[in-house]
């Protein structure tokens, strides 16, 4: 596991706010809807605003009392930092992104399932549970986004093993440690047991939503 520090651009909990315009691979965790993530290649922070252009918001939303996974491309702008739903923003270091790129199956690997549209694969919710892991047992799925404990995991692919547990490959994990400091780490493999209750959700990103 490779861990890197000092890449936090915005974290009100720790009083961190670095003004400037940043480019690269940026993950912002959003509280509206809860536990949603914004992926972006740009972020602008100033004294009174935070903005992102052409970013992708991913999470679950309530529609008619159902939890529906979604991903939505949009520009984001918050003029009032008091009302800004962003919990934190982290710039993933280039060296981790390079390892992440190296670890990816090339597009030439034809046996990985690309979902066309974003969908929930798993959701541990007392009111509305989703569990399609059994259905995809033995398959490899591309572009999973998951929440494990309080860490957000962006992986290149997830394989569902013979116990219907997910095995994530080529993972970037962002989350808070026991001191609530933000950490970024890379893991080539992340094996999760559903019975442990650590996995909160898995969202499969749809390729159509990434393309257009």
């Amino acid at each position: 596991m490779k861990t890197t520090e000092n890449l936090v651009l915005f974290d009100p909990l720790k009083g961190i706010k670095i003004n400037g315009e940043f480019v690269g691979s940026i993950i912002s965790v959003n509280s509206e809807p809860p536990n949603s993530i914004i992926f972006s290649d740009n972020l602008k922070i100033s004294d009174d605003l935070i903005s992102m252009k052409q970013a992708l918001l991913v999470g679950f939303e309530d529609i008619y009392n159902e939890k529906i996974a979604f991903s939505r491309k949009s520009d984001f702008l918050w003029n009032d930092l008091q009302d800004c739903p962003i919990e934190y923003s982290v710039l993933i270091p280039k060296e981790i992104m390079d390892i992440y790129d190296e670890g990816q199956f090339s597009d030439a690997f034809p046996f990985t399932i690309n979902l066309l549209h974003t969908a929930g694969l798993y959701l541990d919710d007392s009111d509305f549970e989703i569990d399609h892991l059994e259905f995809f047992k033995g398959e490899i799925l591309k572009n999973p986004i998951s929440l494990v404990f309080n860490g957000f995991c962006v992986a290149d692919r997830v394989a569902i093993d013979h116990r219907s547990d997910p095995v994530f490959y080529d993972c970037i994990i962002v989350g808070r440690d026991q001191n609530d400091d933000l950490k970024v780490s890379y893991d080539p493999i992340l094996n999760i047991k559903i019975d442990d209750g650590a996995l909160k959700y898995i969202i499969m990103l749809g390729i159509e939503e990434l393309k257009f």
């Binding site: 690269g24 290649d41 992708l56 790129d101 090339s106 597009d107 030439a108 990434l210 393309k211």
Partner: protein
């Protein structure tokens, strides 16, 4: 002392089983040479390296008489030019389908792994691996092709060939359903119409413009530079100078515009044009070997006839000289060492290192003298002498005495 003598006897009896340390007196581009160059030729290797690393001039002529080791030079360079793919080209093999055959030799040298790495890097440069939203690789093949075409179109005249080469490279990296066929095409495999249409291509690499375009793109984007070692370049002059026979049933003029030219002359001129066309490829250098300065002058005249400006691409010649006296000792030692290592008898090395056993210093000096230091002549003499030692019933001393007293 007794042990030492026994070792000599053991070595002699071993040789008498029929193993000659000197067997090959002609080097070829196919069979790897393990013996490096002698010390007096280090300067030549350094001069060649300098010429290759210089930005100007594409063709580096090496002049050496018959048997001086011009082909052996290829193997010495291949081991020394760490930052170049050094490829041996025999004009006999590339006589027809020049670019296709040169490309095939090039691909054989770099191998499919490097080819994959180059096509991946090319697609990356053309935007295939851009991260959408900072994270996700989503290749838009048509966009990648457009970017590639915009990048390269001003460097190539044949746009159809360029378009098809880009199609093949992008399919190889980005289209999982065409990857295997695209790799076969890129490796130079000939394909039928059905296979080509599956890849959306018009021709395979037998088409001259296709082979040249791909050779230029792949070699310019390889991490290592490229050195083509064209051996025995005189052949092109002899071909282009060959006169049609006085009485022929087949009249070349029926097929060729100029009836004074034989098919060989036409082919030689075409090869010459194509070799000059290689000048367009960046980071590609050509070493040509010739037997005399006169041949080089003829080649320069020929280049002048085609285009005076192209004369600049020919560097000053470098000369491969015969052995100096000290070289034969080094050469002999290296050969015996390689021989002993190859037959797993390296224990003899320590004992015979300073003795030149079973020969001696005087014998080696005489060999150098009677051959005027010509390496091929030296090897022939050594083969004969070792054959005498192996197959004669005479004592070693008698054989060596007979050799020394021979005129």
């Amino acid at each position: 002392m007794l042990l030492h003598q026994n070792k000599k006897l053991r070595f002699l009896s071993f040789l008498k089983t029929g193993l000659n340390p000197f067997q090959k007196f002609v080097s070829t581009g196919e069979i790897k040479e393990e013996i490096g160059f002698v010390r007096s030729r280090t300067d030549l290797i350094n001069s060649i390296k300098d010429a290759i690393n210089k930005s100007d001039g594409c063709i580096i002529p090496i002049i050496g008489e018959i048997g001086t080791g011009k082909t052996h030079l290829y193997w010495a360079l291949k081991n020394k030019l760490y930052y170049f793919n050094t490829i041996y080209i025999s004009l006999d093999n590339v006589y027809r389908k020049f670019f296709y055959n040169v490309y095939s030799e090039f691909i054989e040298e770099i191998g499919p792994e490097v080819l994959r790495s180059i096509t991946s890097s090319l697609c990356n440069n053309w935007g295939a691996h851009d991260r959408k939203f900072g994270f996700f690789h989503v290749a838009d093949i048509e966009k990648v092709k457009r970017t590639a075409f915009e990048d390269l179109s001003d460097k190539f005249d044949d746009k159809i060939a360029l378009n098809d080469v880009i199609n093949a490279i992008t399919a190889h990296q980005l289209d999982p359903y065409k990857k295997v066929e695209a790799e076969r095409w890129l490796l130079g495999e000939l394909m039928n119409f059905r296979e080509l249409s599956h890849l959306n291509l018009l021709y395979d690499l037998k088409r001259r413009a296709y082979a040249f375009t791909l050779l230029k793109i792949i070699s310019e984007n390889a991490k290592l530079g490229t050195v083509l070692f064209i051996d025995d370049f005189e052949r092109i002059i002899s071909l282009s100078a060959s006169q049609p026979q006085s009485e022929v049933i087949f009249e070349p003029g029926w097929l060729y515009d100029d009836e004074t030219k034989s098919p060989e002359m036409v082919a030689a001129e075409k090869i010459f044009d194509k070799i000059l066309q290689l000048n367009d490829i960046q980071r590609l250098k050509i070493i040509i070997t010739l037997k005399s300065s006169e041949s080089l002058n003829e080649i320069i005249n020929k280049v002048q006839e085609i285009n005076e400006n192209l004369v600049n691409i020919i560097n000053e010649p470098l000369f491969l000289k015969d052995f100096e006296e000290a070289d034969i000792f080094e050469f002999y030692r290296k050969n015996i060492e390689t021989f002993l290592v190859n037959i797993h008898f390296s224990e003899f090395l320590e004992d015979f290192w300073n003795t030149y056993f079973p020969l001696n210093e005087e014998v080696l000096k005489k060999i150098n003298r009677i051959t005027n230091g010509n390496p091929r002549g030296i090897i022939k003499q050594l083969i004969n002498l070792f054959n005498d030692i192996i197959y004669s019933d005479e004592d070693l001393e008698v054989i060596l005495d007979q050799f020394m007293t021979k005129g």
